[in-house]
């Protein structure tokens, strides 16, 4: 994303002018824009003019609209997902690929005067890439938001790792970037099992067809030519990935696709996972081959920290806490060593709640602890969200019951003191 202009005063009021470029920037904007902000962006509005004779004429006008945000919606695929999930499970052959452009929709009443649109009329802005967006907040520019803006303007990203998670007959193509995991395409083919009486050749034929479909989908969806792609991960239980790799190499050789063969040979990493579902991407990020290559990338870091948290939960329950109340108690006592927090919490529509989380993060950072922000678009972020979205690894064990009891006592004492003062004041 490009930072075109910025003006923020020390109270946290001001504006920022950004130009989003790719899908990840949409995700960043989704996290920056909150309810109540004022956003200005180009839009196309259908304007109706009623002339004196009563005939209406409408034409589309391109203009810059400023709206006060009441709702922000993000979808990772531009095409609307079909609501007919009552329909049968994925068809035998691969389905048509949805567009991978992420879409961000911001709706709210119009806040500035202009020639064509009345004030207060509702409008939904569709944020487009390479068009400037201006975001103004009254007091929302806290450290977390500003850090996010900074992060998004760092150049040189793009999809870092392309992954294919496959099983016998199923494959999911994913692009992992710094902040997002996009599942671009899925294939699901029914493979007859070897138990079919007519002979085992049905199985092999179906597998050959599966490999062919996989090859076509791979060529279409994984950007193996782009230089920012650091690795191609083939993950599967069993040995499906070996078959996939061999099939792709032979096919690439047969079709004479030299760039693909080179890319496959150099960048492919074969990883063993326990299941063919997308959530086994977490295991991919933990595997030693990947860790060695992609140590410093954000999602590898996320995966490692989450793994550490779960291990701590198994080893010493009193040093691993989760849930906002518990983590706040731990933070008050200065016990937090690592704070795991998901960006889902910062998107909370209640600004007061968001402020408390920001204070929590700042407090923890001041005490010298580490804060890891998890992106909900990664599998590790999803797992953290399932766990309430906030968790902490403590530096020394604290028993929950004991801490809660102490808090309760302290509150009781305070209340008694207050009533005493009131009585004393009233009497005196």
């Amino acid at each position: 994303m490009k930072l075109v202009g910025k003006y923020v005063d020390k109270n946290g009021a001001g504006y920022v002018n950004l130009r989003p470029e790719d899908d990840e920037d949409m995700w960043h904007l989704y996290n920056i824009i909150q309810q109540g902000d004022i956003v200005r962006a180009p839009a196309i509005r259908r304007v109706q003019n009623v002339s004196a004779t009563g005939s209406t004429e409408s034409h589309r006008v391109k203009l810059n609209l400023t709206i006060q945000v009441s709702r922000v919606e993000f979808s990772s695929s531009g095409a609307p997902s079909s609501s007919a999930d009552q329909a049968s499970s994925p068809a035998g052959s691969s389905s048509a690929a949805p567009t991978t452009t992420a879409a961000l929709h911001i709706s709210g009443p119009v806040a500035s005067e202009n020639r064509h649109v009345k004030m207060g009329a509702f409008h939904t802005l569709d944020i487009e890439s390479n068009r400037d967006v201006r975001i103004e907040k009254v007091d929302g520019w806290d450290s977390v938001a500003l850090a996010r803006v900074e992060e998004s303007c760092v150049p040189g990203r793009g999809a870092e790792v392309g992954a294919v998670v496959c099983g016998e007959g199923t494959a999911a193509f994913c692009l992992l970037s710094q902040h997002m995991t996009l599942v671009t395409h899925r294939i699901s083919v029914s493979i007859p099992r070897k138990a079919s009486a007519p002979g085992t050749s049905q199985y092999e034929k179906a597998m050959a067809r599966f490999y062919a479909t996989l090859y076509d989908a791979f060529v279409r969806h994984i950007p193996y030519t782009s230089p920012s792609l650091r690795a191609i991960v083939l993950a599967s239980p069993g040995w499906v990935r070996e078959g996939v790799f061999n099939a792709m190499m032979t096919e690439a050789g047969r079709r004479g696709d030299k760039t693909l063969s080179k890319a496959l040979r150099e960048k492919t990493v074969k990883v063993h996972v326990s299941s063919a579902h997308v959530h086994s991407l977490v295991e991919v990020l933990k595997s030693p081959e990947i860790v060695a290559q992609l140590k410093e990338t954000k999602f590898a870091r996320e995966g490692i920290v989450l793994d550490k948290f779960f291990k701590m939960l198994g080893v010493d329950e009193m040093r691993a806490w989760y849930g906002p109340d518990h983590v706040r108690l731990a933070a008050d006592r200065g016990a937090i060593g690592t704070l795991l927090i998901s960006d889902e919490l910062f998107r909370a529509s209640d600004p007061k709640l968001r402020k408390t989380y920001v204070e929590l993060v700042e407090g923890v950072q001041q005490k010298g602890a580490e804060v890891v922000m998890f992106s909900s678009m990664h599998e590790s972020g999803q797992q953290l969200n399932q766990l309430t979205g906030i968790a902490a690894i403590l530096t020394f064990p604290l028993d929950v019951e004991v801490v809660e009891a102490e808090e309760r006592e302290a509150r009781e004492e305070r209340r008694q003191q207050e009533t005493k003062m009131l009585d004393g004041g009233g009497a005196g």
Partner: protein, 437 residues
Amino acid sequence: MGRLLYELGRIDEKTRVANERGSSKAGKSSFSWAWELDGTVEERERGITMDIALQSLSTPQRQVTILDAPGHKDFIPNMISGAAQADCALLVVDAITGEFEAGFDRGGQTREHLLLVRSLGVSQVIVAVNKLDQVNWDPSRFEEICGLLRAFLVQSGFPSSKTSFVPVSAMLGVNLVNCTGADALVLSKWYKGPTLVDLLDKLEPPTREIASPLRLPISNVFKGQSSGTGVTGRICGGVVQVGERLRVLPGDESAIVRLIDVEEQSVPWAAAGTNATLYLTSIDPNHLNIGSVLCPPSDIVPLATVFTARIIVFDIQLPITTGASIELFHHSRDVPATISKLIATLDRASGVVTKKNPRVLTKGISAEVEISLRAGTPSSPALSARPIPLEPFSVNKDMGRILVRRGGETISAGKPISLIAVKVLNTLPGIVLDVIS
């Protein structure tokens, strides 16, 4: 297994010789018997079973259908699909010093398999201690293995009256059908018990629920020789006849049964408990998937996305927290899910609630939890997950068993108690009522 089939006359000489020649050419002559059931190129190359194989054999008083299941860790999903169709278990363990220990210790598969099989409703187990000829038919080794396994079986919930042990050597063919011949001399000196076939003969088939509505979870789909698609599975309840119209769930499709094959013979009807192959017509094969369930249009299986279940947690390292992401296994289908709520922990024996809203579930605990199915993608707008056909345990025992796995190991097993978010379908296709409570 191959040897047993040969002894009982199920394999003809030509196949046996072909297997022997092929395997010695590939340098795997010791696998010649395994090649009878491991048919695919990859299985023979790697020397392991990857998917279940169905074979039937007859003993004097029983007709037995054998499902040879893979043992390897990665292929447990296939093993679960097979075990869900089973009535009894035949566990073959290796008597060679070190081999048995490797399989039986924590990292090995013996324990996991027994727990899985128990959770899927199997209570009769025959343990065949194989390769005893390699340890010179040592009776103390046999007793040692039996002792260890007996303790574990009782602990896992297998009634000891229904477990039996038998020493065999498959390579030499000793004690499979009979205990005679030169090779068997050493064994027959101290072992006077039944042979493997005798024990197979004594297995009791469980009661079949013929009166309940038809349920057939599909474990395999393939293209039949003539037109139509073939589906295989074990009938979990009810009776199916040729010409009947069946609904396929999940989905709106229905199909007509053209042929029913049981053990390679065409029959006009099949009842609960049989492994049958049905050839269906008037349905697009794309709608038939492994894991779908066939049922009569009048009595359809409810589809659920959220349900409560009573589970027992196995011996695991990492405790289960709220929101743990798991894989839910039901017959041949596995879907990603989460344990969305820990409702209460229960006493293992009585089922009385011991603690409400626990924070974590550690090993050995019995608990009531709420399980929600997950959509496949980590995207923020919640794509609703596809529901699966599921019935509470009280309604149908076979349809009401689920397994929970995470990170490559089975962490718990359970029974659905009540379905919360359910889609109830009208029998007329095209009209759908959503009931989400």
